[in-house]
Symmetry: C2
Subunit: 287 residues, 2 copies
């Protein structure tokens, strides 16, 4: 028996080793970013980051189904005026580990951190790296299609005046032409650029990413009843996305504070949705 819809408390690598082989449909996670400041939330020193992560990604490869997908949300910090390269090195090393680097999605953070510096602008994007075990994997593109009605309403309303200038769109007529192409279609496929705001004041506890981010990937790479793993579940955003979408979640969290927070968050969700936890065995899905 391996109970689904649970949060495992403990060290990520240790807990991963308790999972069976090839049992997970989708892994979505945002690991702690490299950070030299020791007092903050378990920062991994930049120079150790790749070696710290590789054993974990090795286990992730073991537990993922052959046609499953691993989405890694990450962004490298600046240090000494330069972007650091540990994410690039990680991609190269994970390929040596046998992962295929299928795609890089961009999360465009519409409300990014403010600030002003002499040598750079505000950082408004993060990487969502897609890794797979084999060339053919399951992908449900229809699940994330955008209704053209909503899109045109929102987009056109927003594009009025300032947005056109902001985007330096000199081809207003061209834009209109594009829209006429969409007329008559009900849904369109999205691109590999996601425009999502960050969630700031979320019940006093801020998540590092909005629930809409895992939601998008969970819809795209899994079906109802599938098993989704987040080995650094943090404040539990991935679990909430799974609950909303009727996927089974497995989370791992090492820190007391966040472990408690996830439990509370999930309980609150269940209270609000009249949902009772049911015991489901991971093994029962694998037959």
């Amino acid at each position: 028996m391996f109970e689904l819809d649970t949060i495992l408390k403990g060290d990520c690598l240790t807990e991963l080793k308790t999972l069976p082989d090839s049992c997970i449909d989708l892994i979505f996670t945002s690991p702690p970013y490299a950070d030299n400041r020791k007092k903050t939330y378990k920062g991994i020193p930049i120079q150790d980051y790749v070696n710290w992560f590789l054993p974990i990604s090795g286990e992730l490869k073991r537990v993922l189904k052959n046609d499953g997908t691993f989405i890694l949300n990450i962004k490298e910090r600046t240090e000494n005026g330069e972007r650091q390269t540990y994410v690039l090195e990680l991609i190269l090393e994970m390929k040596k580990q046998g992962w295929l680097w299928t795609e890089e999605y961009i999360w465009h953070k519409k409300n990014c951190y403010p600030g002003k510096w002499p040598n750079r602008f505000r950082d408004a994007w993060e990487r969502c790296l897609q890794f797979n075990k084999q060339k053919s994997f399951r992908m449900y593109q229809e699940a994330v299609m955008v209704p053209i009605g909503d899109w045109s309403k929102k987009r056109l309303a927003k594009l009025s005046e300032t947005d056109l200038i902001r985007d330096e769109s000199k081809v207003g007529s061209g834009f209109g032409k594009n829209i006429s192409n969409w007329l008559g279609k009900e849904y369109v496929y999205p691109t590999n650029v996601l425009h999502l705001p960050t969630e700031c004041a979320n019940r006093g506890h801020s998540a590092s990413f909005p629930v809409s981010l895992p939601t998008w990937f969970i819809k795209l790479f899994s079906l109802e009843g599938d098993a989704v793993l987040d080995p650094f579940i943090g404040s539990g955003t991935t679990a909430i996305a799974c609950l909303n979408l009727k996927r089974h979640y497995i989370g791992i969290e090492a820190m007391d504070h966040y472990y408690q927070l996830v439990q509370d968050t999930i309980k609150e969700w269940r209270d609000n949705n009249n949902s009772k936890p049911e015991k489901v065995d991971l093994w029962s899905l694998l037959k």
Copy 2:
């Protein structure tokens, strides 16, 4: 005498070697992508790409002023269902060459190519990698400011008491704000995500990027009268941006077809703008 506002015809590396040291304020280029446009342009085999580019980036480093900037617009292709890694490897190798990797801007292509594939969505972004020779470089942020968002109209219409003083963050993030500083503000600094449409047929030849792309970086990293180099000028988009912005351009192009195309494009621009070419010596700018 080294004449500015010219296109050098010939092999990129060979022509670069004729340039003096530390004479260029900004380099902006979009090199031929690996194995891309094989029929119309010499495609570089993927496995040779880094070794092909490194001698060129070495020369670029030599000709760039110490406080100048190099912007490399590039995106890795997919092959065999995977994103290729030569761009990642190139960044790592250029750092070994002495370049600083200062920032990675995202060009979000608002109207990217249509298409549908079973394993990926349309690719709507490219990398604009910023490299520098030293930590401190010239940057003219005011030149690319954008109108403030619509939120400000509501938000700043009526200020509360806390808005009028500096309101320190309660959670010690170090982030406080004084809303009243924003009164009357019409323009704000942009982020590192650029939303630009692609330009379609230009004189029947598709440029790899719209003129708005080099325009943005030329405004940001150079002043009027500065020298801008594009070692793979292709259809001449960078030259047109320079003409519009009163910067001096130097372009390099190996292929007859594109060399002729640039000449025609520039001539057409001059005809339309009543502009006569003037002989300006690069050396005269270096004193």
